[in-house]
Subunit: 216 residues, 2 copies
DNA sequence: ACCAAAATGTGAAAAATGTATCATTTTCGC
DNA sequence: GCGAAAATGATACATTTTTCACATTTTGGT
């Protein structure tokens, strides 16, 4: 067989970041009514080479054929989209509300069941039909309900504490927007987003480009 | 000299993504009143090895010393933080509002001057003191005002069009939150964020972990 | 001021990632 | 249904990225 997926156990971050893009473009092509998808077509749309697309698919165990439905099904399986994911959001600020109002996820089986905040003012209120609960009840909630993913949109100083409680509550993953670097471990997966960092990376690229223009 | 920064011209994405984290942690340490920073301390806080920190600094041309102020100053220079950056946001939806209400950037010289939307209902309104303008006036605005960075929080189908107008308007960078893969070129730098992709990557990691648990 | 301990800068080795190649398979027009 | 053209799967190769090793420099205690 010689397939890397079977002995490596953990696929590279680079690949893990490309997979959702493959899924996204396959869904678009499916919606466009395309009958066939080729690695060359994915190359054009996504920007990486067709060889890389094929290599990625190979690394992931290979797909039966390149029909849009097959590909979507196969990628769904890899990404865990077939299952339902129950999420809660910690922090009812602007970012929290923005994430709740995103409708994109729902079609892929991601559901937000509750929002938690420490501001008593919110008590009993709802956002987009989702109840806002007091964060003091978080542990009880986790004990009583199945929660797969916790979304952290709190300030930095409480993020670590939320992570601890999530682990104790048997949560599988944390989607962290607080500006701290939470770490994955064998109990929980963490995805740090760091919006500010991303803006600084952009600023860096702009700066770098101008620097080289001046050098010539 | 043999310093890579001088002949490579473009630093790797991996490094470009780490730089903001260095900056963030140096700022925290500075606020904590630390007198000295070591590569080992950055290792503990960020998670990558001290060797990588040193290698990264070396690749970027090297820093005079590891005093917090020097480091912050040096990283600021690399990231282009010393200059003022004028930004506008396209799309006054939830995400747009969330970004506008972020106060984190301002301290680093990033200012949001205006918001654009195609919904006439918003005309004349403000968000956090920032005026909402009609998107039809975007081109005129770009011609009349210095805009460094355009933030796209629109639906996917208009993102490409906004990019074109940004290029024509002399904008240096685009921070794109629409679920399309806009590309950088020699006229403009693009940073795609793709929140949904990041959630799917998390889902993939959770799924992958469970898969291997079942295999043993 | 001196010595020991710790930290840095740098080149080179090792590991990881991406690209190119090509035999085999599939598709498509006739 | 046949043959040319195109696309894939898998290996080999090249490049990039990370880690290692260690001479040199800096720090901190006595």
């Amino acid at each position: 067989m010689g397939n890397k997926a079977l002995d490596k156990r953990i696929l590279s971050d680079a690949l893990a970041r490309r997979l959702p893009a493959y899924y996204r473009h396959v869904c678009i092509m499916l919606a466009e009514g395309k009958q066939t998808i080729t690695s060359g077509e994915l190359e054009k749309r996504i920007g990486n080479t067709s060889a890389q697309v094929r290599q990625d698919f190979f690394t992931c165990g290979g797909v039966e054929n390149y029909h849009p439905d097959t590909l979507k099904e196969w990628l769904s399986g890899l990404l865990g989209i077939k299952k339902e994911h129950h999420m809660i959001v910690i922090g009812a600020g602007n970012l929290g509300r923005a994430i709740i109002s995103f409708k994109d996820f729902n079609s892929d089986g991601f559901f937000i069941d509750a929002v938690f905040d420490n501001n008593l003012m919110f008590d009993g209120m709802q956002i987009c039909g989702i109840p806002i609960l007091n964060v003091t009840s978080l542990e009880d909630y986790l004990a009583a309900n199945k929660v797969d993913i916790v979304v952290i949109t709190t300030p930095a100083n409480v993020a670590e504490e939320i992570l601890e409680k999530s682990i104790k509550g048997g949560v599988k993953g944390v989607w962290n927007f607080a500006p701290v670097d939470l770490r994955s471990n064998d109990k929980i997966e963490v995805q740090n987003v760091h919006l500010s960092d991303s803006l600084l990376t952009l600023s860096f690229r702009i700066n770098e480009k101008e620097f080289w223009k001046n050098q010539i």
